[in-house]
């Protein structure tokens, strides 16, 4: 089937089996390699993208379900936006080690901060619980997101 959706601000039409994971559609057909494959079972959050602005795991979304909707990856984050602020904060707070989980964390953090700009550390810890960092750099990641929330140092 053909799926037409907005990807990082650009309208795309892609041919795909309907029950394919969105992640594969994004990585293979749309060359969005920032959308990572981790556990393939909805646990790790490496494949997180924004679907109509809400963070979802793209391994658990059926390709057909994005027809007519909007998908954002880190590759669609522009200068001067909250998303860029989050990305910069990850760099400044040393919140990146191997980097594999980073796109997922940035998008989860961004979507939560958009709705909860004054979130405190405990709220952020819970908000980011769907993303796993195998380097275990959680405190640095929380430092980064908290910095944007304006409650850090």
């Amino acid at each position: 089937m053909n799926v037409t959706f907005e990807l990082d601000g650009e309208r795309r039409t892609v041919e795909t089996p309907p029950d394919r994971p969105l992640r594969e559609l994004l990585r293979q057909e749309c060359d969005r390699k920032s959308v990572k494959t981790g556990c393939d079972s909805g646990r790790c959050g490496s494949c997180t993208v924004l679907l109509d602005g809400a963070a979802v795991k793209s391994c658990l979304i059926m390709a057909a379900q994005v027809d007519g909707r909007s998908v954002t990856t880190v590759e669609g984050i522009d200068d001067g936006t909250l998303g860029r602020e989050v990305q910069d904060a990850f760099e400044e707070a040393f919140a990146i080690q191997c980097g594999y989980c980073t796109p997922g964390f940035v998008l989860s953090g961004l979507s939560y901060l958009r709705d909860n700009p004054d979130a405190d550390r405990e709220e952020l810890r819970s908000a980011l619980s769907g993303n796993v960092c195998r380097c275990t750099g959680y405190e640095k990641i929380l430092d980064a997101v908290e910095r944007v929330a304006g409650t850090g140092n």
Binding site: M1, P18, P21, S41, A64, Q65, S111, Y112, N131
Partner: protein, 292 residues
Amino acid sequence: MSGERATPDYFAPESVADARRRLAEEEGFVKVVAGGQTLMLLFRQGFVQADALVDVSRLPELSGLSTGDGRARVGATTTYADLAAHEVADRVTMLGEACNGIADRQVRNAGTIGGALCHADPAFDIVPPLLCLDAEVSIASEDGHRRLPLSAFLVGHMRTDLGPDELLEGVAFDLPAPEQSGSAYEKHAAVDDGWTTVGAATLVTVSDGTFFDVRVGLTAVADTAVRSPAVESALVGNPVTEDAIEAASEEVIADIDPLDDLSGSAEYKRGLAGTLVARSLATATDRAGGDL
């Protein structure tokens, strides 16, 4: 058949009527798609091989909550996040607590209430609070509408009363009176927000220092989510005391039949169920204005 998996036909109906028609007309094994948070895993693991998919996830008629005449109606494709953000989840605390403990934000943004009810996994946290509310499901097909109690809809382990041509359209319940009633959901999981080992939903009404009405629902301790009439009847009519809660909570073992599995032994879960019921009852009683 070769090892190559056949691609299912996919339909995105324009309306609920269109979805009902499609369910009646399609041959073979037809699967309704809502949030996909469980279904995608079942596809990948090869547990579900559908001939056709009917995707109701973008039908506005099926999504969202409404209240009126003291009743709340939850559309089948309302997400956990939608429910948790609604005033109903503040008013009926156990609903918000159950929603917010499910998996993580990403899953709650996509997973739906109707999807959870139809999958009927006894470990799904949203079901026991709805059982406590005596919720009723509405079901439709080309042959018409029907309603039945959620307790009758859940017929066994991951089995429901839903026919192959039928669509679950929503779930509805009477809102508890705000005065003198309180509710809570307590669960244990090996990790925060993890898969539930045991969960306990309670809804309590107190009157003149006495338990007037008590509802107890349990997660992951039987073939389906279950109520515990033993605890409920042991408490109703008794004075509001911690001792009464402790004694009644021990009765829960009469209504549960947990399994030995990776999350814990049956014996452990029986003990855990009593503890969580007591804890949940104490919180619900406190919220109901009961003086423990």
